[in-house]
Symmetry: C2
């Protein structure tokens, strides 16, 4: 089976669990709002990671589904709130939730999803003390995601961000949920301390590569694949590795022009292309591609404690997929 087929197989199991969860309660309007993002698609990468990791340590992968669904719900709640904070209008090809139902309702629906995630943990078929560890993994990770979000907000309006601070921020915002998925999967699978640790490092590095690729796709992708406007990050003045690298590398004239475009409220397509030209001139696009590949390579090395075989292949395949995907 190809990697994509492996991913799709689990995605349909996870989608079914999610649909089932929301169907029971959909009479209440809150539940309709909560279901809007989880049911709109998404690759369900986090549940996939939890399931494959549990299986890599010899456990039935289905046992990790409730934990995976919990992380997926957390991920979706962060999307709902991030879209409000970033004033984004489109997500997965549809209106963002707050554009559809207003900010107050959307803030609240995000909160509901968050609570539902922790309620989902209750169902995990493990010993109580193992559940305690999983609760610790997930809750600690979400605190880190919030720290990352605060850092991200603090970058707005700043043009002096070090690459190190930026990587730390995306580590928190993006890697921590991947990390919770693999660490939790390893715990459910009965992995020892060292194995849990290594699987966490695998996910941490993979998450960084994932985010760099995400930002790359925003510039280079096709609108109907990525589900939003190409170049939307430039239009929104978002700090990405490519932007930060360019601000640190470009001669001052170019740097000023880039800042000008990033700061403008409304950018024309010509300006977006000009900004992309400046990133290219700084070598930032190539640099970020190379860095993503380096993190991807390092991620794979952390799989060394997993015995060779089907699941290790899938986890390696996931890393390759992450940095070569077009959506």
């Amino acid at each position: 089976m190809s990697f994509i087929e492996e991913l799709k197989k689990r995605k349909s199991d996870v989608d079914e669990a999610i649909t089932h969860m929301f169907q029971k309660e959909k009479a209440h309007p809150l539940w309709g709002h909560m279901a809007y993002y989880p049911e709109a698609g998404g690759k369900k990468l986090r549940p996939f990671l939890a399931m494959i990791t549990a299986a890599a340590f010899g456990e039935d992968e289905d046992k990790a589904i409730p934990y995976g669904v919990a992380i997926e719900l957390v991920h979706n709640f962060t999307l709902v709130h991030d879209d409000i904070m970033d004033k984004d209008e489109k997500r997965r090809g549809r209106k963002t939730l707050h554009k559809k139902i207003g900010e107050p309702r959307a803030i609240n629906a995000g909160d509901g999803l968050f609570a539902l995630a922790f309620k989902k943990l209750v169902e995990i078929d493990v010993e109580g003390e193992t559940l305690r560890r999983l609760l610790d993994e997930l809750s600690t990770s979400v605190v880190k995601v919030a720290e990352g979000q605060e850092e991200d907000i603090s970058f707005e309006g700043s043009y002096e961000i070090s690459e190190e601070d930026f990587i730390e921020m995306i580590e928190k915002k993006t890697s921590y949920l991947f990390r919770a998925a693999t660490r939790g999967g390893a715990i459910i699978g009965g992995g020892d301390e060292k194995q849990v640790e290594e699987m966490g490092e695998y996910a941490r590095k993979m998450g960084i590569a994932f985010q760099i690729q995400d930002d790359y796709l925003d510039l280079i992708g096709e609108e109907d694949k990525i589900g939003k406007d190409v170049g939307s990050d430039i239009k929104e003045g978002k700090r990405t590795l490519m932007v930060i690298k360019s601000l640190n590398e470009l001669p001052s004239d170019d740097k000023e022009r880039l800042i000008e475009i990033l700061e403008e409220e409304e950018n024309t397509d010509v300006e977006v292309r000009e900004a992309i030209g400046l990133l290219e001139k700084a070598g930032a696009i190539e640099y970020s591609r190379e860095l993503a590949e380096e993190y991807a390579q390092q991620a794979k090395e952390h799989l060394r404690l997993i015995p060779d075989g089907e699941h290790k292949d899938i986890l390696e395949g996931l890393v390759d997929y992450i940095i070569s995907r077009d959506k």
Copy 2:
């Protein structure tokens, strides 16, 4: 010891636990934002309830502190987000968090508090399977709080709300966290199913009385005690039991005038007094006082499974305090 002294004694234990938690990490700006509400005061009623209930069933009350702190953090996260949704400017005599740091950061700080609440559960010194039950209690309650909030938002702009729907909404928004506190306290204290159930009903009814009193104080209280403008609910057009009752009881001329005042963007103090006059004319203020007292009485009856003694007295004293407090 008087009831107030009992309350203050536990408040200082809980405050210490909270301060300690935030002190460790305050270097990160997120942690400063998260600490803003929990450290600003509040009566810490929910931890108090959990502690006294655990003690009523023979357990050391300190054992319930981490659970109580978790509920308190959840309560504070709901305040942060509610203040954003309601566009409130003052809370506990200070600027609301979003007025201080902006909406995006405040949404995120609320999320961080929420995550921290669930992280706190990990510390509870109970068997893993008991922890699972506590996780279920708290997460289920927060989903209910979100349902209540959605219902509350849906009431805005409506003048045809039944008393029944209104009570259901405040039950979810307010009672459910009190209920989680007493049910969890009973679980930690080793109470049986029936006792957990009865303690939940005690809190459910007490919570309704609490909310009715809260809305009453908004009209009748003193600004420096309640920490916000008197009559702010009228100015904001908020639906309270008194308003709903009046809309259902007043002759059509008066009803129209009341709606006019509630809908106006900026109300003068004269208009606020006029609105209060209309509520009085409808008998709604007296009615809501009586209903609060009825719920308070019913709440006390649910204490019948607790043996007579110190803790039962405190739980009865709490109900009396709830409906007679001036802040």
